[in-house]
Amino acid sequence: MNFIFHFFFNFAVASLCFGPIEAKRAVLPIAIFSTIIDIDHVRYIIKEGLGILKKRFGAKSRTIFHDFLGLAIFSWIFSIIFFLPYRAFLFLEASILSVILHLTVDFLAGKAYPLQPFSFVETGFFTISARAKILLEISMTVAFGGVFILLWL
């Protein structure tokens, strides 16, 4: 899924969890941690160049940060942050929520190597055509964009 969808979706779930007012307060960590994981695609974009338009983002575009090892690394980082003396707990929870939901949605929506580098078994939940996938992604982004506007107002 694209990073705009991740932000809209994570904001909607954060609003359900913390309430819309608290979610608005934590909008910056939600925005940062909803999108930061996708930075690992940059390496793939540079490598593939214009070929990316044809190939799209498959399992090969993901580094360990999109899979189990990434989840583990983030869990350790956030666990350490918890023990620091100056921390805003709402921001910490919103950040973790954004990271975990990003990984969950990408795992459900696309192909992945969840256990890399220990195993390179490719997994995928849905077998739909690329065209249907793009249409689904656009419609979901627009729908959650609408939800975001409603929650923000």
Binding site: C17, F68, L71, S79, F82, T104, L108, T123, F125
Partner: protein, 153 residues
């Protein structure tokens, strides 16, 4: 070393016999021939529902949903074995969905549960490196703790 090996030899048959008992009991149940990955995916969605309920302090329905998550987690393996649908891909999906689900359900009860989740990730990585399935059943402990807190304070 020898004493540890002897202890393992004594304990492991006990776990195996418990596992055999519930596998035999589960095999008699009229379970539908659905994709085990679908069950794993459903348990992820239910984990998100649990997280929202727990953040909103609706603990009784949250406990019911966590019970369902746990049931689905047990069923995906049973269904896979019953209908001979076991695969390396399925095992990878099951492993990663379990870790994601643990991260999602422990988030509302941050300390010590999320820290335990971080520790569990470390244990899992060591297990993966040694090609052994080693995990701490955090969700089971969380369920027991929640039931105790809610119904037997």
């Amino acid at each position: 070393m020898n004493r540890r090996a002897n202890k393992r030899r004594r304990i492991l048959p006990l776990f195996d016999s418990i596992r055999d008992f519930y596998e035999r009991a589960a095999n008699r149940l009229p379970l539908p021939n659905v994709s085990p990955n679908l069950l794993s995916g459903a348990s992820l969605f239910l984990s998100i529902a649990f997280m929202v309920m727990a953040f909103r302090r609706a603990f009784v329905p949250a406990i019911a949903v966590l019970g369902l998550v746990f049931l689905l987690d047990a069923l995906d393996g049973i269904v896979a074995r019953k209908y001979s649908r076991e695969s390396e891909k399925g095992a990878a999906i099951d492993f990663f969905t379990d870790r994601l689900s643990e991260g999602i359900v422990t988030l509302p009860f941050f300390f010590p549960w999320f820290i335990l989740f971080g520790l569990n990730n470390l244990v899992s990585i060591i297990g993966l490196a040694k090609k052994r399935h080693t995990v701490i059943p955090i969700r089971l402990f969380l369920l027991i703790w929640l039931v105790r807190e809610e119904f037997f304070p």
